[in-house]
C-alpha cells in the first residue's frame, strides 16, 4: 500500500509545482517580478525489510533488510530567484530600473515596502508616488517635484530642470540593500517585506528611462511545464499499476480459477 501513497505524494507535489509555474507564466511581463521555484524534498528514509519465513522453523520467519527508501515526497519551500531581470527601455522620465542589488523603498499602508518596480508618478501635490499611490522614500523623506523634467544620477540623486533652465537637486531615491535577499517575503503587487535591517555591499546603478522586466523566461517555464506534465503522468501510471496489483490481490489470489 505504501507505493499508492507515494504515487499520490508525487502527484500532489507536481500540482503545487504547476501552481508556481503558472504564476511565473502569468507574471511574464510584470515589472520587477522575481520568479519562484518549488523545492522538492523527500521524507526521511526508512529501512525496508523483507519477511522470509524459514522452512524448518515455526517462529514466523526472519526479517531481512533489503535497503532503504524515502517514505514520500513534499514541496519544502518556494525559493524566489533575485536574478537581474532584463532592462527595458521606456524613455519615461519617472521610470527607474535598478541594475545590481537593492530595492526602492515605499511607504505602504502599514509597513515600509520594498520593490524593484521603479515606475513612479507624481500625485496632485507633486510628490513622487507609485501606481498605488504609496509615497516613494527618499534620503531624508519624501521627494517633491514641480514637473517631470528631471534627470537621475546612477546613485539615485534627482535633479530638476526648471523652466528657466536651472538645475536643482531635489532629493535622492533611498535604495535599500540587504545581506540576504532570500529573507525577503513576497507581499504581492510587486512588493516585498522584510524584518532584517539594511546591510551588505551596495552594488547598484539607478538607470532612468528604463524598467526592469520580469526575470521569468518563457522558454524555462515551458520546459518546466513539460516536466511537470510528464512526471505527473509517470506517477499516475504507478498509481494505476498499484491499483491493478491490489485488484489482483483482492480478487484473484486464492481463487480456484
Amino acid at each position: 500500500m505504501r507505493g499508492l501513497y507515494m504515487a499520490e505524494g508525487a502527484m500532489l507535489v507536481q500540482q503545487s509545482q504547476l501552481q508556481v509555474i503558472s504564476n511565473n507564466l502569468a507574471n511574464l511581463r510584470t515589472t520587477g517580478f522575481k520568479k519562484d521555484r518549488g523545492v522538492e524534498t523527500s521524507f526521511a528514509e526508512w529501512m525496508i525489510y523483507e519477511m522470509s519465513p524459514a522452512a524448518d522453523t515455526n517462529d514466523g520467519g526472519s526479517l531481512n533488510p533489503i535497503g532503504s527508501a524515502a517514505h514520500n515526497v513534499a514541496t519544502q519551500e518556494t525559493v524566489t530567484s533575485f536574478a537581474q531581470g532584463p532592462l527595458e527601455i521606456t524613455e519615461r522620465a519617472l521610470d527607474f530600473a535598478l541594475a545590481g542589488n537593492g530595492f526602492f523603498q515605499v511607504e505602504g499602508e502599514d509597513d515600509t515596502l520594498y520593490t524593484r518596480n521603479g515606475r513612479f508618478v507624481l500625485d496632485e501635490d507633486g510628490t513622487l508616488v507609485t501606481s498605488e499611490g504609496y509615497q516613494v522614500i527618499g534620503v531624508g523623506g519624501q521627494i517633491e517635484l514641480q514637473s517631470e523634467n528631471v534627470y537621475a544620477d546612477p546613485d539615485g540623486t534627482l535633479f530638476e530642470i526648471t523652466a528657466d533652465g536651472e538645475t536643482n537637486e531635489v532629493g535622492q531615491l533611498d535604495i535599500a540593500v540587504f545581506e540576504d535577499d532570500a529573507q525577503m517575503e513576497k507581499y504581492g503587487e510587486n512588493y516585498f517585506l522584510t524584518d532584517q535591517g539594511e546591510g551588505g555591499e551596495e552594488d547598484f546603478e539607478v538607470i532612468q528611462g528604463f524598467l526592469e522586466g520580469s526575470n521569468a523566461s518563457l522558454t524555462r517555464e515551458m520546459t518546466d511545464l513539460m516536466r511537470v506534465r510528464r512526471t505527473y503522468e509517470a506517477a499516475q501510471k504507478i498509481m494505476i499499476t498499484y491499483d491493478q496489483l491490489l485488484d489482483r490481490v483482492a480478487n484473484e489470489v486464492g481463487s480456484s480459477v
Binding site: 504547476l18 508556481v20 503558472s22 507564466l25 510584470t30 514541496t75
Partner: protein, 261 residues
C-alpha cells in the same frame, strides 16, 4: 491545482486587455495629438500555501512556501510625450510644443483640455473644435480675413479686417498639470482634470513650461509603430504561455480522473 487554473486565467485576461490597448494605439497611429497608452502588470496578493503536497513543518529558518495568485493589468499609463509637428495649410491649425493644453468649453458647459489644435470659425465668429466645442478664450473673427490671422508663439492672435487694418484679437492661454497622467480621457482628444491630475496652472505660451504655439502645424500621434509591434509580439507570446499552463492544469485533472478510467 484549482489555483493553477486561475493563475493561467488571470494571465490570459491580462494579456488580452494588453493586446486590446495595443490595438487602440495602432488604430490611432495617424490621429492628431493622440497620446499612446502604455500597459503594465502587477502581481496579485501572495498567500502561504497550506495545501496537500506541501511540507507541513517547514524548517524554522525558511519562509513558509508561498504562492502567487496570478497577475492583473494596472490602469493604463498615458504617455504624454511630444508628438512630431506636421506642417499644414490652415492658419487655425495650432500645435503645442511643450507641456501645456488648450482649454475647451464643452457644449454642456463643462471644461476639458486638449492638445488637438485644429480650430474652425463658427457662424458667430468664435473659435471651435471639429466637434463644435469652444476654445475658452472668446474671439471675434467676424469680419477678419482668415488667411491673415497670425498666432504668435506666445499666443497673441491678430488678423486683418476687410479694410486692411491689423487688429489684436486676444491671447490664447495654455494650461499645465503637475500629474498629466492623472487626466481622465474623454475621447476625441479631450481630457478632464481630476483629483489626481491636480488643478491646472494657467500660463501664457512661450518658453515657461507650458510650451509655445506653432501656427500652420498640427501635432502628430506619439504612437511608434515599431515599438507597438514589439509589444504586440511579447504580449501574444505571454498569452500563449498562459494558455499552455491552463491546458496543462486541465491535462493533470484528466490524468487524475483516468486513474479509475
Amino acid at each position: 491545482m484549482g489555483r493553477s487554473f486561475y493563475n493561467a486565467f488571470s494571465g490570459i485576461a491580462a494579456y488580452q486587455s494588453a493586446l486590446a490597448k495595443i490595438g487602440d494605439n495602432l488604430a490611432n497611429l495617424n490621429t492628431n495629438a493622440h497620446k499612446r497608452s502604455e500597459v503594465s502588470f502587477t502581481e496579485l496578493l501572495y498567500s502561504e500555501m497550506q495545501e496537500k503536497g506541501y511540507s507541513v513543518d517547514p524548517l524554522p529558518e525558511e519562509l513558509p512556501p508561498h504562492s502567487g495568485k496570478g497577475v492583473h493589468m494596472y490602469p493604463v499609463t498615458k504617455i504624454f510625450d511630444q508628438g512630431a509637428l506636421q506642417q499644414t495649410e490652415r492658419p487655425l491649425d495650432l500645435a503645442i510644443e511643450g507641456e501645456g493644453f488648450f482649454r475647451i468649453e464643452r457644449q454642456g458647459g463643462t471644461e476639458a483640455y486638449t492638445r488637438r489644435g485644429s480650430f474652425f470659425v463658427d457662424n458667430d465668429g468664435s473659435l471651435v473644435t471639429d466637434r463644435g466645442d469652444y476654445l475658452d478664450v472668446e474671439f471675434d473673427l467676424d469680419g477678419i480675413l482668415l488667411n491673415s490671422v497670425v498666432v504668435g508663439p506666445n499666443g497673441q492672435v491678430s488678423g486683418e479686417n476687410f479694410e486692411g487694418d491689423r487688429v489684436d484679437l486676444g491671447d490664447i492661454m495654455l494650461y499645465s498639470f503637475v500629474n498629466k497622467g492623472g487626466l481622465f480621457k474623454l475621447g476625441g482628444g479631450l481630457y478632464e482634470a481630476t483629483e489626481s491630475s491636480g488643478e491646472p496652472d494657467e500660463l501664457p505660451p512661450g518658453g515657461n513650461g507650458a510650451g509655445s504655439l506653432n501656427q500652420y502645424h498640427l501635432e502628430a500621434s506619439n504612437v511608434d509603430m515599431s515599438a507597438e509591434m514589439v509589444e504586440l509580439i511579447a504580449n501574444q507570446r505571454a498569452l500563449e504561455g498562459n494558455t499552455r499552463s491552463m491546458i496543462t492544469a486541465d491535462e493533470l485533472k484528466a490524468l487524475t480522473l483516468l486513474v479509475r478510467g
